[in-house]
Each structure stands twice: as C-alpha cells, then as structure tokens.
Symmetry: C2
Subunit: 418 residues, 2 copies
C-alpha cells in the first residue's frame, strides 16, 4: 500500500496539469501508440496486477462487504484482457481533437473557425471497479486530456498496479507518464481538496452512487458533469402496439435491472390499461410492482406505491405503475418524477410521439424502443465515459467528443475595431 | 420600492420554472410577437420607467457613489429606445430551438437525432446596468427560456418598472408573464439562496466583476457559466508586420479600455523589441506602461512591473510589457498569466501563427487582428449574453445557441436490447 510517500494532492494536480499541455498537442499517431503500449504493458503485468487485486479482495472479504461489491472489485485474466481490448478499441476510434466544427468569414474579412480542443485535465472520482482506471485513462488520452483519477480505498492496490502499468506504456512512446495521475490518498479530507483544485482540474466526472453525487454537488469548486440517476419511464399510450409495448417494457425493466437506463416506472393510458396491465404483470414475472389506485383496481397483485416510490431509481427487480387519463397527464407524471435521463413512449400515433418527444424534459426520449438503448456503444460512439443527466456541456451518453471543448481561431490581416 | 410584499425567492423559482415549460414549446412566431409587444410596452411606459430610474439615480447620488456607477444606472429616452430596439433585433435572429444538430441511423434501425432545446430557466445575477433586465430577457425568451433575474439594489426601482413593462408585453400575446421573474429582495442572504435553487434554475450566468464571480464560485449549487476576466495579450512576433502590429496594439489597448476584450499586456519578441517598443510606447500616449527589465532597458519611460501586474486585468489605460526570447517563451507567458479569454499574435510566419493558435489555451486566439473582435456582434451572433471564459458548455461569446442544450430523440419500431 504505497500511500506513505505519496505527494500532496495539490502537487499531483500541478504534475497532471503540466502533462496535459503536452497531450493537448500530441498527434493522433502518438496517442494511439501510447494506448497500444499501455494495453501491452497492462497484459505484461498481469501477475502483478492480479496479486495486488487479490490483496484488495482479501481486505474487502475480511471487512465483510457484500458479494456484489467483492465481485466488482475482483479482476481475472479475462477482465484484464477486456481492459486491454478496451484501450485498443479506443485507439481505433476517430480522434476528436482538431475537428473544425464550423467556420465562416465576416464582412470585414476576419476568418473565424471553431476548433475542437482537449479540455485539459479530466478528473474522475469513482468507486470500486478497478477497470475504470484503465477505461477512463484510455478515453482521456485519446481525446488529448490528462487523467486525474481518484478511486476507492477498497481498490487502491489494484488501481496502483494498473496505473503503474499504463504509465509505463505512455512513457514508452515518449509522452509524459503523468498523462495518468492516480491519487493514492483516499481519505475523505483529500476528496474535498481534490474537488477544489481549480488550477489543475478542467472537468470533474464522478462515477458512482447518489452519495458521491451529493458530495460533488456540495464540495466541488471545479466544473463538473454529473452522471446521475436514471428514473426512466415507459409510457404505453392509448394507441400503442401492445405486443411491441409488452416486449419493450419487459426488456427495459428486466434485461439488466441494475443499470441507469433500465426502466423504473410504467405509465399506462387508461384506454388500454385494462387490456395491457394484466398481460404486462404476467410477463414481468419476478418483478415487484407497486402502483397507484387505478392500477391496483385493475390488477390485485400490484402493491401500494408511496409518493417516494414514483421518484425512486430501484436498480432492482421492482417497478412503479401509474394509470393516466391522457397524454398530458403522462407527460406531467414523467416530468415530475423523472430524473432527466431516458423516457420512452410506445405509440402508433404520430402526434402523441411528437408531443412526448418535445415536451418531456430528458437527455433522451425514445419512441417505440427500449430505454436500454441510451448508451454510448448503442448510440455508435464506440465507448462512453458516462451518461450526463445535466443540461450544460454534455447531455446523454458522453463519448470522446464530450471530453473536448471548443476554441475560436480568428485570422485577419490587420483588422482593428472602429 | 415594492419589496415588502415580494414572495420568497423559492416561490418565485417555482413560478419561473412553471413558465419555462410553456416557453420551451412556444412557436418562433409567438416568441417574436412577445418580443415586439414587450418592446412596444417598454416604450409606452417610458415615463414610468424614467421616474423610477430617477429615484434610483437620486438614491445613488445621495449615497455618494462614483460618477461612473451613476452613469451606468442612468436611463434616458434614447437608452430606452436602444433597449426596445435590442428586443426587436433579437426577434429578427434565427430561433435556435428545434435545430437538428445531427442525426444518424444505427445498424438495428434506430434513428437518432440530436435536437437543440431550451435550457429551461436561465438565471442572471447582474450589477447596476438596468438595460441588462431587457437584454437578458430578450435573449432568454427568443431561445425558449424563462429569465430569472436578480439585479442590484441600486437599480431596483428601474428594474421593477422595466420588468413590469416587459411582462405586460409577454402576457399580451398569451405567454405567461412569469417568462420574466425579477427577484426584488436584493439582500445578501437571498443571493446565496438564489444561487442554490437547483430545482428551479437550469443555468446561472453572473454578469459582473470579480467579487460577484468569486461569490458564485463559492455559493452556487446550480450549474453556471462564468463570464470572467479578460487579461488579454498581444504578442508581437519576430516576424510581425510592425506597422500592422502597432495599429493592433493601439486598438486593442485604447479603443475601449474598460471592456474584457481590451488588451492588458504586450509581449514582444527580442528580435524586434528594439525597433518596435519605442514606436509603440510613443503611440500608446496616455497609457501607463509597466514592464519587465528587458523592456525597461529599451525604453526608460516604462515603469517597473510587479508579478501581480502581469496577471491583472487593468480595465484602464494601463498595460504590462514583457520582452521574450522565443515563441515558446511567449506562449508560456501567455498561458501563465492569461485568463483564457482572448490572446492575439502578430506575425507573418505561418508556423508561428499555427503554433500560437494550437498551444495557447484561450476561448479565442486571434492572428493579426485586434483582441477587441471577441464579441457576439463581431462574430456575427447578432447579440450576446456574455463571453464565457470557462471550458464547459460554452466558450467565448455566448449567443442564442449557447442558451440551449441538446436532447436525443430516438425513434424505433420495437427494438429491444439482446
């Protein structure tokens, strides 16, 4: 546990900022070579990483943490292969840096271009999954950013071993090893200090549960993007194709209930509730359903929902159910309880689809498909660093492009203002 | 002074949020009609507004504030005409809402579009200029946002009168008057409360000096965009056209020294310093110059600069001067002391222009033109709500587009994830 000698977090911030200036102008070829070298080095140090990981797992088991947490923590040769594969996959993606997003010429002859450039230092605070160390590093490097990482104390030994391997790869191609800086002091005190390093951090992205998000909202003094809750709804409209709606609800709820784009709430129009609810309840076998009075009057097995249930992201085989009298009521319900992540409508009615798409306030509105598609891979971004539920900077799945900012480059031949 | 009966700020937040939902889907035609009606009403109430303004001015004068502050506060029939004209000008701009920024189809047939939508509620905290009440309202309304405004106590009577007129115009076309909500309680306590209204405010834009910005950084719990300092440099390269450079430096420094895109610092390559510095010092007649030892050795009239002088936004007829030995040194100087606003290079050397553009970290880099061009009007945006010096969401001049966010609309025909 190499914490005793680790430098203060402000000093680490200066180092990673320094490295970011080099990365910002590194060529795509060099960055891709660094990713390949990092992948090779990671696999080359499989034994060291797995030994460190075994320590973390043993500590966690001794501390009596749950099986799910231990599973998230545990690495295997296969998981390391997947991490290395992820780095190679990111290397194959298109480099967003240098893209001219738009450009025009002003009447006075000034030529204006808007160019995509790296953010600088991207900080990630994350929980127990050690693969985030590698995944976040890869996306940051490809987009020309230095990665400033702070994982959990439970995964510290694993993260230190992974970071050492990745840094070795980066150095091999002549880029600064500080392209990845891991904070090894995982105390609560340094978390607040970390989130306050305005001179070093250009963007902070927390990857974790509600308590981490709340802490960022409270303590962060650096710009951040929230990868927040998904209290996602599926609304089954009066004119839905009910067979299709059935498949969509079951998929959205049960295909992977623990993730943010899983559905947590079913809203059904009263015109189809009597036909649809009994079928969907039967199909949602194993899902605990809690609903409003109207839904419970139609299906006795639905339990009573509290107000809080409608607002809750269960992340489990549980779902809230509401029956509404109109599209307006459905939109109001979704805007009231939703978390701005993903909201779906099942309908064959063009006007209903259009209104739901316009009036629902969320990062993604999905018509006639599962909420589970809100995802960087599914959108075609190749990889994602998270899914933003905020409105500033990035909204929805964040790929490489969302790790960049824009710079105006204005070229003249002596223009002055009159 | 209508403060006694004004509702609590949280209640105002609920109202403006409610109104924002209506504005978000209002048609361009209706929004434009509202802007025209607001402009008419503002002119129709010229007497009431000027009477209120006279109260503010008298209070300020009695309190002994400076002439500049009183001038910022004072309205006239001409200034009201300009405010109304500004609203009509914004009505004539293209509505950013509904623009499909991009779209594509996935292999599974899902059609993905990325659509520009309003932020929701845009909050502005500003200082003494009452015209901001009207200008900010106009930009917010055109972009489908409700405006939640908090001006200074010095301008309160003026702002209340202006807001009443504008709200009257909005109501006349059937939109909610709460499209503009002015906070009339201007106490320090409610400022922090205002900046913490996460449920109501989608984006906060402070318009004011360093102490306001510092307060936002400290107290805001809502997302914000900083319209920050401009410590702008002009770098005169070894291969500059010195006649052109002279005009650019003089224009950037003196054409309007009180604004953020005015130059504050001159950096000159040693190869041309001996020829250029005496000329530019003569041309900058009336500007107090403070410089490093190398510049002072060449021109005796340059005073000694402290480290702090190089980092300072003077906003006055004062400028710092440094002589550098290389382009690298120039870029380091600019990145060290600059505030990320606008940095200019004067050079005929393509490689120098390219490196400066790439390696300088600022919202705008200008080659062979005055720093004064970083401006919404000059960029062709028609109007601006400010100039962002941050990297997230918006960077550089912010027009109507920067008051929007994006939403993914995904359309399928029953797709589920396997």
């Amino acid at each position: 546990m190499p914490t005793a000698a680790s430098p203060p977090v402000a000093e680490l911030g200066r180092r990673v900022k320094q490295a970011s200036r080099v990365l910002a102008t590194a060529s795509t070829a060099v960055k891709d070579a660094a990713l390949a070298a990092a992948a090779d080095r990671l696999l080359g140090e499989t034994d060291a990483v797995l030994t460190a990981n075994a320590d973390d797992v043993a500590r966690a088991a001794a501390a009596g943490v749950g099986a799910t947490v231990v599973d998230r923590l545990r690495l295997s040769p296969g998981r390391l292969e997947a991490m290395a594969g992820g780095l190679r996959q990111v290397a194959a993606l298109r480099d967003p840096v240098g893209e001219v997003v738009e450009g025009w010429t002003r009447p006075n002859g000034l030529r204006i271009t808007k160019v995509r450039v790296p953010l600088g230092v991207v900080a990630i605070i994350y929980e127990n999954r050690p693969n985030v160390t590698s995944d976040a590093f890869g996306l940051c490097l490809k987009s020309g950013n230095a990665a400033f990482l702070r994982g959990s104390s439970a995964a510290l030994a694993s993260n230190v071993a992974i970071a050492a391997a990745l840094r070795g790869g980066v150095e091999k191609v002549g880029l600064p090893a500080d392209a990845l800086v891991l904070v090894e002091d995982t105390s609560h005190e340094t978390a607040a200090e970390f989130m306050g390093l305005r001179d070093s951090i250009d963007c902070l992205i927390p990857r974790g549960g509600p308590s981490l998000i709340a802490s960022v909202r409270q303590h962060a003094r650096v710009p951040y993007v929230i990868d927040g809750d998904g209290n996602c709804h599926v609304y089954v409209d009066a004119r839905a194709d009910l067979d299709q709606a059935l498949d969509i609800v079951v998929n959205a709820k049960t295909q992977r209930p623990s993730v943010c784009n899983a559905a947590e709430s079913l809203v059904v129009h009263e015109d189809v509730a009597e036909r649809f609810l009994p079928r969907v309840v039967a199909a949602l076998d194993g899902v605990e359903l809690v609903g409003d009075e109207r839904s419970r009057a139609l299906v006795g097995s639905i339990g009573a929902a509290t107000e809080a249930d409608f607002a809750r992201e269960f992340l489990a085989m549980k779902m809230s159910v509401a029956v509404v009298g109109s599209l307006d009521e459905a939109i109001d319900h979704v805007n009231r309880y939703g978390s701005g992540h993903t909201e779906a409508i099942c309908t064959t009615d063009l006007a209903a689809a259009t209104r739901f798409s316009r009036e629902v306030d969320a990062a993604a509105v999905i018509v006639n498909a599962s909420t589970r598609f809100t995802d960087g891979e599914e959108f075609g971004f190749g990889a994602e660093i998270g899914i933003s539920t905020q409105k500033l900077h990035a909204r929805g799945p964040m790929g490489l492009r969302e790790l960049t900012t824009l710079k105006y480059v204005v070229t003249g031949d002596g223009q002055i203002r009159g």
